[in-house]
Symmetry: C2
Amino acid sequence: MEFFFRPRGIAVVGATASKGKGGNLIVLNLKKGYSGPVYPVNPGYDDIEGVTCYPSVSDVPDPVDLAIVFVAAHMVPQVIEDCAQRGIPGVMIQSAGFSETGTNGSALQEKIRQTALKTGIRLWGPNCMGLVDVPSQWIFSTVTPTIWDTGLTPGNVSLIAQSGMLAGAFLIDLMSHGTMGIAKVCSIGNKMDVDENDLLEWLIHDPDTAAIGLYLESLTDCRRFMALCRSTPKPVVILNGGKTAGGAAAAQSHTASLSAGGALVSGAMAQAGVVTADGFYQLADFSRTLGMYAHLSPRTGNRVAVLTYTGAAGIVSADIMDRHGLELSQFSETTLGTLQTVFPEWMPPANPVDMWPGIILNGSKKTYETAMQAVCAEPEVDAVFIHCFAGGFSLEVDLEKMAGTAREAGKPLFCWISGDRDRVYRFQKSAQSLGVPVFREIMRAVECMGMLLNRPQEMGINTDVDANTEADATAQIRRLTQDPRLAVLATNTGELDELVSKQVLKACGIPVVEEKQVTSFEEAQRAAVDFGFPLVVKGMVPGVSHKTESNLVHLGIASDQDLATAVATLQKTLEGRDSILIQKQVPGKIELVAGFVQDPRLGPCVMCGLGGIFAEALNDTVFGVAPLTLADALAMIDRLKCRPMLDGFRGYDPVDKTALGRILVTLGDLGCAYPDIREIDINPLIMHKGDPVAVDGLVVLA
Amino acid sequence: MEFFFRPRGIAVVGATASKGKGGNLIVLNLKKGYSGPVYPVNPGYDDIEGVTCYPSVSDVPDPVDLAIVFVAAHMVPQVIEDCAQRGIPGVMIQSAGFSETGTNGSALQEKIRQTALKTGIRLWGPNCMGLVDVPSQWIFSTVTPTIWDTGLTPGNVSLIAQSGMLAGAFLIDLMSHGTMGIAKVCSIGNKMDVDENDLLEWLIHDPDTAAIGLYLESLTDCRRFMALCRSTPKPVVILNGGKTAGGAAAAQSHTASLSAGGALVSGAMAQAGVVTADGFYQLADFSRTLGMYAHLSPRTGNRVAVLTYTGAAGIVSADIMDRHGLELSQFSETTLGTLQTVFPEWMPPANPVDMWPGIILNGSKKTYETAMQAVCAEPEVDAVFIHCFAGGFSLEVDLEKMAGTAREAGKPLFCWISGDRDRVYRFQKSAQSLGVPVFREIMRAVECMGMLLNRPQEMGINTDVDANTEADATAQIRRLTQDPRLAVLATNTGELDELVSKQVLKACGIPVVEEKQVTSFEEAQRAAVDFGFPLVVKGMVPGVSHKTESNLVHLGIASDQDLATAVATLQKTLEGRDSILIQKQVPGKIELVAGFVQDPRLGPCVMCGLGGIFAEALNDTVFGVAPLTLADALAMIDRLKCRPMLDGFRGYDPVDKTALGRILVTLGDLGCAYPDIREIDINPLIMHKGDPVAVDGLVVLA
């Protein structure tokens, strides 16, 4: 990939002297910053913008590592052939008119893909805006050159965007508003060859890049993406467009790529330690925060000191912090004493620190700095949130000094700025260069604090549960493959019935309800004696997996008489098919569901969620990518909205999360061991005195 | 209140010639805009800033309606006396040093309150920043005069803020950034006399004000506030600081005022049709949106057309819309046909409309305008969301023309703008003057669309449920007061036991479980014959309301033998107290809770929420202020997070919401009829075949 990022020479195919056209803008942009030779290619000109022009790619002299192509789509295949022939290793196709335009475009795209496969040439794009490298000031793009006037601020965040217009427009917006500094912006368009994973891999090793943000409408290879993210301590933030039904329909028409199911991809991202953003500015905010604070040693605390010039903002900050899982630090007597030195006597300091009375007494700088030093020295403080005002009220601060104090204390500092437009702008630029994330809205600042302070620490390392590693998973999968009790999975097809499904689950070590298949009332009675009332009586009908809706389930059978009635009713319904199950009724207030699904994009995946009547109403489902480690499974359980219910309260038993986690691990291993398994559903998985028990089960084979 | 807003002359007590001091800034600000006479008062000067100065308030000539006071706190009581003596009807105390500073300050504040009570003089403040009237350009405040340089943009939104610094700082920020136009900003500080309700009442009748936004840390009189909000079609938006535990602690130390419980106030606000904001910018965004679109006839639709220059932003918009209860409009063939005229042939138009290919073919203005006209003519479109870019890529638009098209069609238009900083600023200012709400973030725009399109329509008017009006409530409360079966409520004190509590509920018409108090196994057996198995057997112990935790509840009694065991166990526990209840066991998957609480600030209030094990974990509780109309009660039920569960699915019975609503109405009426009731708890209220049944009940009297 080096030839894309560090080319020794660049050919611009489709260069033109016509002002304002893309083929002209590319040359102008290269002239402004790129340090190597530029070779415009166009048979119609001798020179373009004062640079010697060549009639064809084959005429271009050495060195040339990269061709940037901006010609009509139908001409692109020939250009790629020429580039391959000339020995140019990389081509960036910025022209549009390919798979995003329907059948004809797709055919063109396929044609150049074949050329790439045949020749080994690497293709970036098409339908993209290329690359902007801010520290080097290299712009390989048609992006409007006014970007230079508004100031390209170098930073340590690199962005990858699957959208040409967005990459260009957003970059201009971020740069012009002083929102953040940037290392590289990569616009990958239709990503027919070079994709987000190729770029991510390169950026992971790029010394200019400390954090990576991606806007993607589809993940080319989610498992490779996950592996890359887990391989690096560099934080990765993703905005995954098309997560909802409406968004997904839009994504389909926009980039001819189906977005993988939202919940599934979210689960995969969480599992890989990737931070998820919901919008463009949040993507930028999360990335720049992580770019600034990725180097801080992981903290376990979520306690924040708030320094404000207006109590109201302190109160609103506390309210918003509460919603983002952050707490107000409790100050020690020492800290309170230090604060009191700049406060009037009548005002006992507290957190949030309303500094206004102190500012009136001692001036702004002294009050801010004293407070800053006090809270940075306080062990109960994990992060500091300061409110600044640029535009009067004598509220000047020495941000550089405060940033230094926070840095020395190893505590992340966040800043809310409001005030006069021009002064705010200058403040933002200065904060940016001091490495302090600054925000125009309290909510945005708190969101980023919450993300940083609450993000999961090291992935997959948990001394309590390290018994289950990836190596164990491999061994376990092999064992399952060889287990004779699971032969049915290799020999059958379609849906297994409830009894057989649960026999499979039980053979894997998943706790299932006690049950017996009976053919008569007498057999049912004997089962009742074994199990004890109350019982559940079910009829199994091939192909009917929703038994409740089909009146095939009799709950709460409490006597021989009930049992007789239930068996008789089912026998009538079943018309002689001997498929009645007697189960011990498992009481339990919490019903979960757990399952496995073979996803066309992500492969074997595991699901867990709230079950029963709440399942559809509260939409509480999490996914993971198999095989799972036990730590992965426990992290999935932690992501359930209903997680507080599992901790036990009001006298209910806390749920054995390790047992629940092991069930999820096993479901994943089983699906990996038998690729013909399409789906496994355990619904409900009842928490009985805190222990999960599979009460109904369904295995679906290919 | 007219003398505060339209004074014929103003005395400035504490005026000074010292530059930068508050007493100087007030005079400067008045000189810049106020049209009436200004009378600085200070015995040390002959004139201040070229205006004749008077030694004392009594020397000030007529006309004088208002005194703005900015002297040391200990001097304020005398000044108020002087003003009252001079016959000045209103005083605005901008000095700090009162109740917000502890005991001494509170004593000072009490002293001037007594003067006001005695003399009838009205006091605004203290500890406030006064009033800014933007259309008149009258500034009655110490707010820094640079506010003039950054441009006071008149608008139709008025703001009330219980924070001095905030009101000033936020106003400068909003004005300077071109975020919105403002009618009036009122900073009310400690609101010892003039409070938010006085100002709200005045602003409701102010022709310059179309929408009102409030930042409050406490509500002085929530019921008056609700009544005012219900009395006007002008939209009211509130940011209620101190909603969470952390925020409330901060509010307490900041303004010496306890914030009423968050959920209770939220319920009251929703009941009064008030829109709730979570942060300062959301308060501004909601207010300006409503200021612009309050005049539109209420729409029932939530279908949005999205016009974008980048498909990625369309996808992200659709995702965020989905989270805010908005849908993408489905376009008719006619609309699609019109769109196709500006699209390339290969690109079938869809919503979101990615206009980029059209822009390349036909230019930006033509493409935007054609699309705008098409979607405004489309009956399936309730609102239009356009994405604009200011800063290159030939993306100029004629916003005035598009705003006109939307206005003629009666459809609210929302705009996302990004790009070059200065061009974005000019675009925002121009959109503001065209009456188009414009946002720097997609999320912010979608939030406001969601708020506007999904906000409840006319309050309390619903032809289905109009049988229960406020007059009916009054009649019902009178009936309850006179009901002899409720005599226990007038004669008893403390907790009523479960049996008596439910007899009370039953007498009011609330469905309760069939039950019987028994003293022996034989009586229990007779009840069992009447009710049929399964049964619940409970022991009642005075003062023990959490029976489950005390092992006083035996569920699922299915046989005489079970019954005997349960009764014997309880008899042993109860040690001869004859307080065993036999109840029919009510099956039902959904358990709610309903209740009544006498709140020290809001008076009689009604609660409803999800019950059972989910109650604490999912925190799904709504409140209303009694008496409720049935429409109020149904709106409460609609606000439950678990509402989708009540609609019936998977073969479960839908809940009879009218029956549930009537229970809430009755609980409120009962609490209004008997002011000694502190609390009523129905927990659980089980949905049995869709009908709510009170299974446990507790009434607590004073």
